[in-house]
Amino acid sequence: MGLIEAIILAVLAASTPLLLAATGELVTERSGVLNLGVEGMMIVGAACGFGGAWLSGSVIIGALCGIAAGVLMSLIFALMTLGLAVNQVATGLALTILGIGLSGLIGSRFVGEKISLAPHLYIPGLTDIPLIGRILFGEDAFVYLSLALVAGVWFFLYKTRAGLILRAAGDNHASAHALGYSVLRIRMFAVMFGGACAGLAGAYLPLAYTPFFIPGMTAGRGWIALALVVFASWLPGRLVIGAYLFGAVTILQLHAQGWGVGIPSQLMSALPYLATVIVLVLISRARTGGSTAPAALGTVFVPDR
């Protein structure tokens, strides 16, 4: 296996959790809700995903546990921000703080345990094609799933009536309400979808990336996913580009450390975070003319009856 091939495989693996989490958050934000608790939902998803897989011996059950954990966390968020009209920014922060504590509590009994990683696809003939075979036909199921999810979300948002209603709720909740749609119900489903994706993204880490659980293993990926949604201008297609770019930065800095380039390893480790800041600035600057963000993003909606 060539070095280039190995790097591309690693980039795809590093990008997948970012893409999964960002896709979920994109749908949540398109409905007008800013859930800053992605990091918290992801880390609980990682702990529960590992726990499920370790206890059952099945990666699929692990993934389902991660999804369930993400949905449960997102329901707390929905109850607070939609049910009780609490500030979304503060609630999202609370969700992350709670998630970090909960994952430590749940995961503490699994620290030091090991599982076998999710298997990679193997199609005789196709996977054996030199250079591109393993990249196209030799990934784990989550990589394909994440790309299918983005395509599905694009189709849902732009080609279905339900997607149009969801976008309407995010752009002008008063009008959507006046037309007779239940804004809060739409947003609740969007928040739950975001939670499911974040939980799965978190579960990906111990199930397909590293075969063990360490507290804090999401290492800010949830926050980077939030930045990716901004980077993508809330458009699903651009999420793929953004996620793979960030995955590339992550892997490049790891390799640069290995090559022993005379740069402090800490500076290389800081690269993904610095890149996020720089990208946010560039993207926001380019958009000073008009914002593409959902118009009602982050605002509280209380229906008057």
Partner: protein, 363 residues
Amino acid sequence: MQLVLEKRAERSNTIALISPLIAIGLTLVTMSILFAILGKNPISALGVYFIDPLTDSYSLQEIAVKATPLVMIAIGLSLCYLANAWNIGAEGQFLVGAVAGSWLAVKTQGTDAGPWVLPAMMLLAAIGGALYALIPAICKVRFGASEILTSLMLVYVADLLLDYLVRGPWRDPKGFNFPTTAEFDPVAAVPVLIEGGRLHLGGVIALVVVAAVAVLLGKTIKGFEIRVVGAAPRAARFGGFNSNQLILLTFAISGALAGLAGIIEVAGPVGHLQPGISPGYGFTAIIVAFLGRLNPVGILIAGLFLALTFIGGEQAQIAMKIPLDVTKVFQGILLFYVLACDSLILYRFKLIFASPKVSSGAH
């Protein structure tokens, strides 16, 4: 059955006063359930958490020591949040302040530098923290980049910067390769208040900060502007207040206070610069700010209360083998209840057991 919110004609002052207490009460009930799930006796667990630390002098001093950074950071954050500027990177500003101040301590190590060293370190720390906080603030007002995400990303960067310094250029040559600077000289250390005790000068500084910000908010035009910009942005625009300038100002103050807290922690209780100087003070301070209702005196009380949970959590781990993560869960749950109870100030909660006709716009 359906939960419906009804807007109150005006905000309820009674509830504004008691809502933190309701939140703490609900948190204690939830924690009891959690303790029971973990197989611990809830009553004795809560006793170890909240009562035992109050019964001996060492723990009481330790609570004040832990409350010092929490209160200082939270006071700064409250200014940001009042002005609707979301600084959530105080942890990073705390670390950069610690680094900036420690630079002088490391440079003057072993020289006969006078007692000016500590005040100069504090000044450097405040400047360092303020400059670091201004990065997201400038990105926000100049380019419109979300200050939430940029300030948080910079936490990871600050953490790595500190790590690099204590493993590289600033490492104690006699430190057996541990990632730490040498112990600071006495002129670079925050003095304790009572010989042999834990209480140090930082506690006094925190009280001064509380008083100063209370005056700023209550008695000055700037304080008034901060409150108006957050509470009524439209009115503030008509009033000609410059909200961008206030974002820069509140971020700078909050960064300076976090940085100052950082050097006080390093030059005080810790005594040298090393990784892991903060058990998440910058994040816990967000809870302190909200629990204290963004009010200086409230924050002082809230800071002492959350410091109690840190000490109680350590004691519960030793005495009852309760995992330390329970403290973080506790803090997260507390913030949820605080926010939920705050909603009661503006809304009445009503449960409706009714026919589908009443349910609003349901399909």
